[in-house]
């Protein structure tokens, strides 16, 4: 990573939802810097708040959700203060664009893919029809759709899943954004197509000099694409560092547990690791470390006070009391030690 200028800074963000008369605290005091040109992966299990966090960048929270406190600084403006559609329209697409999870449903079935790409071009590039047509053809070429002149007139149902995801990516690029958010872009695709789409996004990110946020629960994807990794648990970032640091020198017990559950790290004959218990109830106020009840190594203080972010290296932080100087020293699980050794060899 070259220079590190933050393009987007999240500070002490809290997001809440009201659901059936109760308030759910979905994002709990999250701070995060996104650096220009980097690819950041946000990992975590379902419901950990990874999608919600990125939705706040574009004002796409569902109607029953709101930013309770905190700020999101982007180009000198605080997006957390944006309220009206007019304000958000200056961000959506043109500055921050998004690729959604399921390409089978994220295109309008009644419009040709050409029209759907053109809509983005005409919104953000103020192009006329023939310029937009030319650009659409170029974009389709860029995302690897053969025979774009014919394809431009076709409808989504005439495309396969992988091809539709390419179209969705073309739409995101058509907006000419600074930041591209990929919300589980390969989850709905089959495995052979996943690799193609990942490669494609990686190449395009380079070509268009994009800053990228990947939301995923697939650590294999993370290892493939990310410069940095943020691990989320129960609406909080519990560990963040470069890919190497998180994979080979993880410090938070939740990251340990997450990595240990990777089937690839298991050895023949051993039982697959799984995390005991269930994620905490976000309706109730969480005391101490949210992961403590599921953490076999939990200390007494884990149940009482929320740990601060401890710095491990200039690029690596983890929110666990284990990093406190007074904490008993604890080795990561054996599988991870094995992983680290393999890395050194």
């Amino acid at each position: 990573m070259e220079e590190k200028t933050p393009i987007l800074s999240v500070r002490n963000l809290n997001v809440k939802f009201s659901l059936r008369g109760k308030v759910l605290h979905a994002i709990r005091d999250v701070s995060l810097d996104l650096y220009k040109g980097e690819t950041l992966a946000i990992v975590g299990e379902s419901g950990s708040g990874k999608s919600v966090l990125t939705k706040t960048f574009m004002g796409l929270l569902d109607q029953n959700g709101w930013i309770d406190s905190g700020s999101i600084l982007f180009q000198g403006k605080d997006l957390a203060k944006y309220k009206t559609e007019k304000e958000w329209l200056t961000i959506r697409g043109g500055e921050i664009a998004m690729v959604l999870q399921d390409p089978m449903t994220s295109l309008n079935p009644l419009k040709t893919i050409g029209a759907q790409i053109r809509e983005a071009l005409m919104l953000h590039r103020s192009m006329n029809k023939s310029q937009a047509y030319q650009r659409t053809i170029e974009l389709l070429n860029d995302v690897g759709i053969p025979d774009p002149v014919r394809r431009i007139r076709q409808y989504p149902h005439e495309f396969s899943g992988g091809m539709r995801q390419r179209v969705v990516i073309a739409i995101a690029l058509a907006c000419n954004p600074q930041i591209l958010i990929c919300d589980e872009p390969t989850t709905a695709l089959d495995v052979t197509i996943q690799a193609q789409i990942l490669h494609l996004i990686r190449d395009l990110v380079k070509k268009y000099a994009l800053t990228t946020v990947y939301i995923t629960h697939d650590l294999g994807v993370v290892a493939n694409v990310a410069d940095r990794v943020a691990v989320m648990y129960a609406g909080d970032i519990v560990e963040i560092g470069t890919s190497r640091e998180v994979f080979y020198d993880a410090r938070h017990p939740y990251t340990w547990a997450l990595l240990s559950s990777l089937p690839q790290l298991g050895h023949r004959g051993e039982k697959l690791f799984s995390i005991q218990g269930t994620p905490p109830n976000l309706y109730a106020e969480i005391k101490g470390d949210a992961f403590a009840p599921r953490n076999p190594h939990a200390l007494k203080i884990d149940f009482e006070r929320r740990p601060p972010l401890f710095q491990v290296s200039p690029t690596h932080w983890a929110r666990t009391w284990l990093l406190h100087p007074d904490a008993p020293s604890l080795d990561p699980p054996e599988v991870l030690q094995r992983l680290r050794q393999e890395e050194w060899q």
Partner: protein, 313 residues
């Protein structure tokens, strides 16, 4: 496309023949007393002569064959009891255009009012327009139509000064009956459009459109509306049929000389030729309506292709 339509019309003719045969046989199972006003006082000879005159003495298959032969030559026959010996084409030719004209105007009004109402309801979910529309829909569906028809007539004529009785040449007399006829459909279209639009608004393509920076207003107009209209458009031609055939009460309330109540009337009087002719007309409109509905759907939804073509995958 042309091939598809021809094929559909072909199967429709068959359907029509089956419907007619069933109705033809059914009306002939009615007790013969129904063909006479004063059956008890008539001689057997008179009765037999009359039945023979009505063509009811022949064996059923022969009667059926005669009926279809005449029908193919375009002869619907003459009315037996409704307007004795007047040709049926003439009776219907007089009544049908008025009913159809009224039905079409009322349909147009229902669409013009019902669709914006449904769209407004979907856009302001749980706010004023939605609650207003819901109240309206619940009222129209829950209160028996006869009650509000009467209120419309009495308030319309006393407060607004519209004429009580229909006269073909005075447009002011059209307003109340057409409005009454439309109320049900306005509620129906608004309800379904709102429902389909709310469904569509939660779909991923709407979220993607929002994420690419399309205005909420344009999302509704350009993306959501057309998608929600696909499942509705299929039923519009059929609902025209219901409007025309179901306006019995309104036509009698305003003395409209249409054909709304005609079918019930001729069934009660056991006027077999009239029953057969009317069933044929309604069935044809119904069948054509369904074909039209399917064609309309294929026109707005590219995923539906009527002529089989190779899809490029």
């Amino acid at each position: 496309m042309a091939k598809y339509i021809l094929k559909r019309l072909g199967t429709s003719l068959f359907t029509l023949a089956v419907i007619l045969t069933i109705v033809f046989v059914l009306v002939r199972q009615m007790p013969i007393e129904g063909y006479f006003d004063n059956f008890d006082k008539l001689d057997q000879a008179v009765i037999d002569a009359r039945l023979k005159q009505l063509g009811l003495k022949d064996p059923l298959p022969v009667q059926l064959k005669d009926f279809f032969v005449r029908l193919i030559h375009g002869d619907l026959g003459t009315s037996a009891r409704y307007a004795v010996n007047v040709s049926i084409s003439e009776i219907i030719g007089k009544k049908a255009p008025l009913s159809i004209e009224m039905g079409v105007i009322s349909m147009a009004l229902s669409l013009v009012l019902g669709i914006p109402l449904g769209a407004a309801m979907a856009r302001s979910k749980n706010k004023f327009w939605d609650q207003f529309g819901t109240a309206f829909i619940v009222f129209v569906s829950a209160v028996p139509a006869a009650i509000y028809y009467i209120y419309i007539q009495s308030f319309g004529s006393t407060l607004l000064g519209f004429p009580m009785l229909f006269s073909r040449d005075d447009w002011r007399t059209w307003i109340l009956p057409v409005f009454s006829m439309s109320l049900g459909n306005i509620a129906y279209y608004a309800m379904w459009l709102r429902r389909y639009m709310v469904d569509e608004m939660n779909k991923d393509y709407v979220r993607l459109a929002r994420a690419k920076g399309v205005k909420e207003k344009n999302i509704t107009m350009r993306h959501v509306f057309r998608n929600s209209f696909v499942p509705m458009i299929q039923y519009i031609p059929t609902s025209l049929l219901y409007t025309v055939s179901g306006s019995i009460y309104i036509e009698s309330l305003y003395s409209v000389p249409g054909m709304g109540g005609l079918l019930v009337d001729v069934i009660a009087r056991q006027d077999n030729p009239m029953v057969q002719a009317l069933v044929m007309i309604y069935a044809s409109i119904g069948i054509v309506g369904m074909i039209l509905g399917d064609l309309l759907m294929a026109v707005i939804d590219p995923r539906i292709s009527l002529a089989r073509k190779d899809s490029a995958r």
